[in-house]
Symmetry: C2
């Protein structure tokens, strides 16, 4: 079976934006009752971020080096996270509406920045027209079969009663759409086609496995790809998802196994293990344990699929990485460097790059501080260097992967393509180590590596690269293959 995955994804560096919290333009009229930008986020409050604000900060994003944006939901919704869809056809008015989104999309594309949207199709909100219709008209509503209602009156806003209709995790605010009804499927797919036609570059799909209707995701893929053969289809699945990544459903998953492995190895002793992101108990990992997780990630899927995975350290659904490692910025740095050198598309959750902290939801969704006195400028410079590194070296994006070392708290690997070999080594231990990396037959005898961001050079001797590594540090070494004369 051929797995058709858009070629651009393996070269992508994503930036995840939570739209209410990234930037608020002064140009856009707003309702009055917004929270102050800098106060801690609340469960129900709105900061009033908008798309024009983001457009006005594309210089910042371009400078950071990212070339793709994943937006948390932007469709009209009465929730600050907008996962409770009110209207699948409208961009939220607080964000600026449909015309502003088109303007944003054009502005991003002009800079070579791709845009994927969050598609939330399993459940909607109590405000969705068809649900509201049932609330107003009961079983006489023509939309009665758009949801699965078990009795009347509906207990939708009555906190003393259990919701008597199917909803996500029993939450009355999230009535589950009856996707077994072909009218519902068409309604959703028509909206999907509308936005795909507008020119977006793909979809991140919220809890897709909650939709049990046979053929739903096959049809989704077919209809999206018929409009844009280069659309990326990314599923929110927190576990391994081999059956779903065979070319018929999704291109990739939100790579939470990557996230948990990174927590284990780079977080290690600093890790706050009282948190269970996504319900998972996090484990500290030594280099061998980490290597096992890494190997599994790399081997479970087809290589093309591996290159398309969405590798994340933080997201809107868990405490920020920096907060999970108790503010240890060196660990965030090293994990980010790993992310930027690993197969699959890395994603920076807005604000991680300037050292923004944040505990569990809603705290992990703080407003981005545009007053740069709040920024860690050194951290930001490192994020830029790491992203630039990935973009400079094709082997980091497309190259083969080989583990070179995994012992104690030290871990090293090589990425190799036709033009270069890049060696990446980490020492998460408390003491310096001297690695002897056996490169075997990979390289010519006496090959010389350049250490990036430095003048140092390392020569391979008898197939072995000797590499001293301080505690909590990394080294990136590059060997460029001699170019053959094309004549």
């Amino acid at each position: 079976m051929t797995i058709e995955i858009p070629g651009w994804v393996k070269d992508a560096v994503f930036y995840q934006i939570f739209p209410d919290r990234f930037a608020r333009s002064e140009q856009l009229p707003k309702p009055t009752n917004l929270e102050p930008w800098y106060t801690p986020p609340t469960r129900f409050g709105f900061k009033g971020g908008d798309l024009l604000g983001i457009l006005e900060h594309l210089d910042y994003l371009e400078d950071l080096g990212i070339n793709a944006i994943y937006f948390n939901p932007i469709f009209q919704s009465a929730a600050n996270h907008r996962y409770h869809t009110y209207d699948y056809w409208q961009v939220d008015p607080i964000l600026g509406g449909n015309a502003m989104f088109q303007q944003f999309l054009d502005g991003a594309h002009k800079r070579g920045i791709r845009v994927i949207l969050d598609g939330v199709f399993n459940h909607a909100s109590r405000g969705l027209f068809q649900f509201n219709h049932i609330m107003e008209n009961g079983e006489q509503s023509p939309y009665f079969d758009w949801f699965t209602v078990k009795g009347f009156p509906l207990y939708a806003y009555d906190e003393r009663k259990k919701a008597n209709y199917e909803c996500w995790w029993g939450m009355p605010a999230l009535p589950k759409l009856n996707t077994d009804n072909p009218l519902v499927r068409d309604f959703l797919f028509n909206a999907v086609e509308y936005w795909t036609r507008m020119g977006i570059d793909g979809w991140r799909l919220d809890v897709p496995l909650e939709i049990k209707t046979p053929g739903f995701w096959e049809e989704f893929r077919h209809r999206v790809r018929a409009i844009n053969p280069e659309a990326y289809i990314l599923a929110e699945i927190w576990n391994e998802a081999k059956p779903w990544l065979q070319g018929e459903h999704f291109d990739a998953v939100m790579n939470y196994p990557f996230n948990r492995a990174a927590y284990g190895f780079f977080g290690d002793e600093a890790l706050d293990r009282s948190e269970r992101p996504g319900g998972f108990r996090l484990k500290r990992l030594n280099a061998r344990g980490f290597a096992r997780q890494v190997d599994r990630m790399l081997n479970i899927y087809d290589w093309d699929v591996v290159l398309a995975q969405y590798n994340l350290l933080s997201s809107h659904d868990e405490p920020r990485f920096l907060t999970m490692v108790k503010g240890d910025k060196q660990r965030l740095r090293l994990a980010t460097l790993f992310q930027m050198t690993f197969p699959g598309a890395p994603s920076v959750y807005y604000g991680d790059e300037i050292g923004l902290e944040g505990g569990p939801d809603p705290d992990c969704r703080r407003a981005f501080p545009w007053d740069d006195r709040h920024w860690d400028h050194e951290l930001l410079a490192d994020f830029k260097r790491f992203i630039a590194l990935r973009k400079t070296h094709s082997a980091l994006r497309n190259g083969d992967f080989a583990t070179l070392y995994a012992r104690g708290r030290a871990y090293a690997f090589a990425r190799t393509d036709a033009t270069e070999t890049v060696v990446v080594a980490f020492n998460m231990g408390a003491r310096p180590v001297n690695l002897a990396l056996s490169l075997g037959e990979m390289l010519p005898e006496d090959a010389i590596f350049d250490r990036v961001w430095s003048d140092e050079k390392y020569t391979v001797v008898d197939g072995v690269l000797a590499l001293p590594l301080p505690s909590l540090a990394a080294r990136i070494l590059v060997y460029e293959c001699p170019r053959e004369n094309s004549a």
Copy 2:
């Protein structure tokens, strides 16, 4: 003060359509759970009428002779009458959505049929985004000040509690918009401008006097007329409304005083006085009582305003005329003839013309029976004749009005313009009468009248027109002024 009223209104014959009930196209996809077309209407059920269905029946309307349509609300709403607005920017999807409305509007305009929409701005629905937003987020919603909320949680769907926010007549389904908030006004006026720009010919305004915000209707008029100087602005006011018809607010009102006078005189002994349409107690009227009401209607407003009034016999808000007169079709016929010969724009409520009956809401909103075995074809032919009469005779639309006779159950008047004098006479009594209509100086001696729909001629003798009138009958006589040579 100049009162600028669109010139087309005095030549208009309206047809009022309740969109869920007039016609349902087979071409338009529909949700499944619709009521059968022919079953009695229910409070919450939908029949699934749509705009394409109406478009497909424009031949019928053109043949009937009408040249303007007043639509009950068409914007997205979870109520079958659509007075509970869910989205001011969307035509309801069951009706066919915005694109279908544009198609309808173009089709109607091509046939010279104008279209006015129902504007419901005092209250919205529990499903309106900004109200739903408050339900979801409480006082943290940025739209908190779009309604007048008196406490949390909102008792919006709790039948045991009184609604704790301002709503129309205390009905929780109809939260009242806070038009004192300039953002709310702008939101509404932007939608008004959007539809006006799309090309509609005016607005019928629902309960406009419930909006107490100073300047609201002045601004409405200003913004509408800036886009379409020919837009008709018609207010639902059930009483005399002199202060509102001075050129600053509305052009006309739904003329319920006309309706009540017609009930009194043409309904008379057949009138079902147990009903109180709009809360008014109906009275039987003899010719003198009727003439008093008529004179009051004609004198209270400027003449231009009189010519623009919306004269109706039935509407969606009360039992149908035919039902109110206990099925006596002759009374409906005569009242309709009066309506078609009276100053002001007559309105036919869909179905009255084929003898559709209907008691109080929801029964007065039955589906139109397209199987013409259910039609009274003679009645329909008369409606066509009466409408054609109005269109043929300019004096009936624009001419001066003079009462000629009002005694017992007989009533006669003349309409006169530069080209003709039309005499209209009714005998609602149980016996024939011989009227002696004193035309005084209005006409030349020996003027000869033609009786319409007949070969009879009547000559004025000594300034008096002798006119025998059977019981429950009417006569229309036309005297054409001799044309002067223009040479």
